[in-house]
Structure formats: structure tokens, C-alpha cells
């Protein structure tokens, strides 16, 4: 019979079953290749975001003019990161973002950390998820499929990447570590206002995370412990500032705060 022959002879490579498996092969390989490209992009984003954060820590040097330079440089760096995210967005065009989410989530979280750190330094507020997403809307030349959403007259097309709320949360949780570092550095640099500001800000974030509690995903709860430790360090720093401030004779307070370097009259020093 036909069937018996089949079994012993070579499997007919033109059989419909084999043909469909060839298509599965193609589908799976394309998928895995895309995943791999996204992983690589994510690694690039992570590294560049981390470097931006290091760069931003240099703002807290005593001089103000260099701060602007540094911020400008961080803008350039973050623009580079955005270009990488644009590449992710291109890869995801027409795809389900969540299908490849695991591939790029570490990079995106690190980007959120960097961008929110820069934002805090500039504005002393927490950047919102919406603001971050607004910065991830790209224009690209409308290719053959120019009929995409909101294609503009010049044949340019909008391409948007959406950070998920969870990635945003995880990035902000990591941000608190950087803020803690910034706080300790500020104290070391004789900057008294920043620590109090930071402790206030960190407490707000801490209370926000407490409010969310275990409603969020497990990864968020896991970071809560570190967040609490960072808050503790910042609160301790403020406490130290306050306690030592208590020793200045009241009438000297103004002087000391005005110019820490001016030596105080030795007679009055030992209160």
C-alpha cells in the first residue's frame, strides 16, 4: 500500500505536513531572531542609561556652571538612548508589545531610572509615566505602509513606544537608590537644603509604594526593602544635620548658614 511504502522510504519533503512545519520553522526563527535583537538593544540601553546616571551625579559638584554643561551632556546621552528605544519601537511595529516584553524590560527600567533622575535634578519633581511616554513618540519616514496611524502630510509617521506602568514603577524604585546617593553626597559637600528636600521627596515616593503595597507585581514588592533602607539613610542624614545644627548658638545661625567656611570666633564656638 501507499502508506506502508511511505514509512520505509524517505519522508516526502513535499508532504503538506512537512510544508507546514517548514513554515513553523520560519515563524519561530523570525520570532527568536527578533527577540535576540531586542535583548541586544536592551543591553545597550542599560549601559548608556547607567552612564547617564553616573554623569548626572557629577552635577552635585560645588560649582553651578558645570551643572548646566553636565545636564546638556546628559540630554545628548538620553537622546542616544531614545534612538535605541526607537529601534525597539520599530521592531515592535505591528507586534504585541508584551510578546517580547521580557527581552527589553531591563533596559527600559534603567531608562526610566535615568530619565526620572535627570528630571528630578532639573525640576525637583517626579516625572510622570505620561511625560516619559510623551518623550518616546518618534517620527519616521512613512514607508510603503504610509497609511499607518496619524501619518502626517510630509509622509512622516508617528511611532510611539509605551513604557508599562510596572516598568515605570520598577524604574522609580531604583531611582530612590540614586537619590539616596545624591543625598549623602550633598551632605558631604556641605549642601544642607538638598538633603531635606530629598528626604521629603523620598518619603513621598516611599508612601506611594506603601500605598500600592502588594497590589503590584512581585518584582515591585521585592524592591520595597531597598527603598525603605534608602529612606532610612536619608532620614538619618537629615537627623544628623539637625542635631549638629542644634549646637550653634542661636545668634550665629545666620552666619553659619550664609557661609560655612567663615571661621567662627573661638570664644563663642564651644557653647
Amino acid at each position: 500500500t501507499q502508506k506502508a511504502d511511505d514509512r520505509d522510504s524517505d519522508v516526502n519533503s513535499l508532504s503538506p505536513m512537512i510544508a507546514s512545519f517548514k513554515s513553523f520553522q520560519l515563524e519561530l526563527d523570525i520570532r527568536h531572531d527578533k527577540y535576540e535583537r531586542l535583548v541586544k538593544l536592551s543591553r545597550d540601553i542599560t549601559i548608556e542609561s547607567k552612564r547617564t546616571i553616573f554623569l548626572l551625579h557629577r552635577v552635585i559638584s560645588p560649582s553651578v556652571p558645570s551643572a548646566e554643561e553636565v545636564l546638556a551632556e546628559s540630554d545628548v546621552k538620553l537622546d542616544g538612548v531614545r534612538q535605541k528605544i526607537k529601534q525597539i519601537a520599530e521592531e515592535l511595529l505591528g507586534e504585541d508589545l508584551y510578546q517580547f516584553h521580557k527581552a527589553f524590560t531591563p533596559g527600559i527600567q534603567e531608562f526610566v531610572e535615568a530619565v526620572s533622575f535627570q528630571h528630578y535634578i532639573k525640576h525637583r519633581t517626579l516625572i510622570s509615566l505620561e511625560d516619559i511616554n510623551a518623550r518616546l513618540v518618534f517620527l519616521q519616514e512613512g514607508k510603503s505602509e504610509a497609511t499607518g496611524p496619524s501619518a502626517d502630510p510630509q509622509g512622516m509617521q508617528e511611532l510611539a513606544f509605551q513604557v508599562t506602568p510596572t516598568d515605570y514603577l520598577l524604574g522609580v524604585a531604583d531611582l530612590t537608590g540614586e537619590l539616596m546617593r545624591m543625598c549623602i553626597s550633598s551632605v558631604g559637600n556641605g549642601d544642607i537644603d538638598t538633603p531635606y528636600q530629598l528626604s521629603q521627596f523620598l518619603r513621598e515616593i516611599h508612601d506611594g509604594f506603601s500605598y500600592i503595597g502588594n497590589t503590584g507585581p512581585y518584582e515591585v514588592s521585592k524592591k520595597l526593602h531597598t527603598l525603605r533602607q534608602s529612606l532610612g539613610k536619608v532620614e538619618d542624614a537629615c537627623y544628623t544635620l539637625r542635631v549638629r545644627g542644634s549646637e550653634i548658638p542661636k545668634h550665629m545661625l545666620a552666619d553659619v548658614f550664609a557661609s560655612r567656611a567663615v571661621p567662627i570666633d573661638p570664644d563663642e564656638g564651644v557653647a
Binding site: 500500500t1 502508506k3 506502508a4 511511505d6 514509512r7 519522508v11 508532504s15 505536513m17 512537512i18 507546514s20 512545519f21 517548514k22 513553523f24 520553522q25 515563524e27 519561530l28 526563527d29 527568536h32 505591528g94 504585541d96 508589545l97 508584551y98 510578546q99 516584553h101 519633581t125 517626579l126 510622570s128 509615566l129 506602568p165 515605570y168 514603577l169 521627596f201 513621598e204 515616593i205 508612601d207 506611594g208 509604594f209 500605598y211 500600592i212 497590589t215 503590584g216
Partner: protein, 227 residues
Amino acid sequence: MSVTEMFSNIQVFLCADQDVREDIRKVVQTLEQTAREILTVLQSVHQPTGFKEIPNKCFRARELFCTVRSQIGDLKTKFPMDQYYRFHEHWRFVLQRVTFLAAFVVYLESETLVTREEVAEILGIEVEREKGFHLDVEDYLAGVLIMASELSRLAVNSVTAGDYSWPLRISTFINELDSGFRLLNLKNDPLRKRYDGLKYDVKKIEEVVYDLSIRGLTKEPEAERDK
């Protein structure tokens, strides 16, 4: 927007997300229940007397697939369609089970490998992601592999039931399937592990065919069947 407001917004999002998941979980549970029922119907083919009732059983299973379709229809309404992979883990397991059941029914009916298109039709879903709630290719393949293992059991039990033709036909079928799977480059994931199991199914069926052939039992049933 204050920090508190921001976190409130996120909390709202997270709660909504949990609600969606809760809804999905519930529908999936009913789906699992139906899947177990279909399985019970089809299990009887392994019984000595079950081989004659295959058409009946398939018919009954087909009826139950109506329920599956309506339950999946319900599932589709529980989340935005373009976030399929966000919640994929919730239904992945059961979707593989019902794919297996569909593939098993089709095999019992026509001794052919159900296509992804056919499974999609039986389950009332799509093949292409763009078109709606669809059957992921890996889930389809997983379902097919579960069936392969069921077929190796069937080969054994058909012999017990005195029907010697099944093992040979299953053997041909499963060998082709094996050739198909060999074309794939799998990652080190559950699918790969399942595919490793296919080798044992092929081996088991080969052993049954061997047992039959050394006893000269490979011809008869073929003839019997032609009648």
C-alpha cells in the same frame, strides 16, 4: 500632578489589571472543566470496547467543543485584544489542552494531522495574531505533542483490544510528525522538553509494531479493515 496622585493613578491601573486577571482566571477554570469532560469522553477509546465507538465519541466531543467555543468567546471579552501576550500565561496551559483534544478528535476521525487553521476553527479563534484572539504556534505545537503521546498509548491499547491495524498507521503518522518537528529550532523551553518526549512516543510505537511484526500480526488487521 503630585506624587500621591501619580501613585493613585498607578494603583488604579494595577487594580484594574488584577480584576482583569481575576475575570480571566474564572473563565479559564470553566474552560478547564470542559476540557476535562472532553478528555473523559475521549479516554474511552483506550478501553477494549472503545475502538468501535470512536465515531460516537468524536461526535460527542464535537458537541462539547461548542461549549469550548462559547467559553473562549467569553474569554475574549475580558481583556483588550491587542494585549494577548500580557495575559498569555493564564490560558496558555488550557489552550494547549484543548488543542490536543481537537487534534485527537481530528486524528480519530480522519487519521490526519489537524492544521493550525482547523484547530483555530474548532476553537472559534484566529490563526493570525492581527485578527484577534489567536492560537500561538508554540501552543499549537505543544497540543500536537500531547496528542502524540496519547497516540502511543492508543497503539498499546489497540493491541490489547485486538485491533492490530492501528499501531502501523499510528507509526506512519507519528514518524512523519517527528520529521516535521525535526525541522524546528527550539529554545530550551517547555516545548523543547515536550518535543524530547516525542522521541519516546516514537520509540514506544516502534516497539509495538516490532512486537506485532515478529508475530506476523502486521498484515491481518490491514485486510480486516479493508472489508
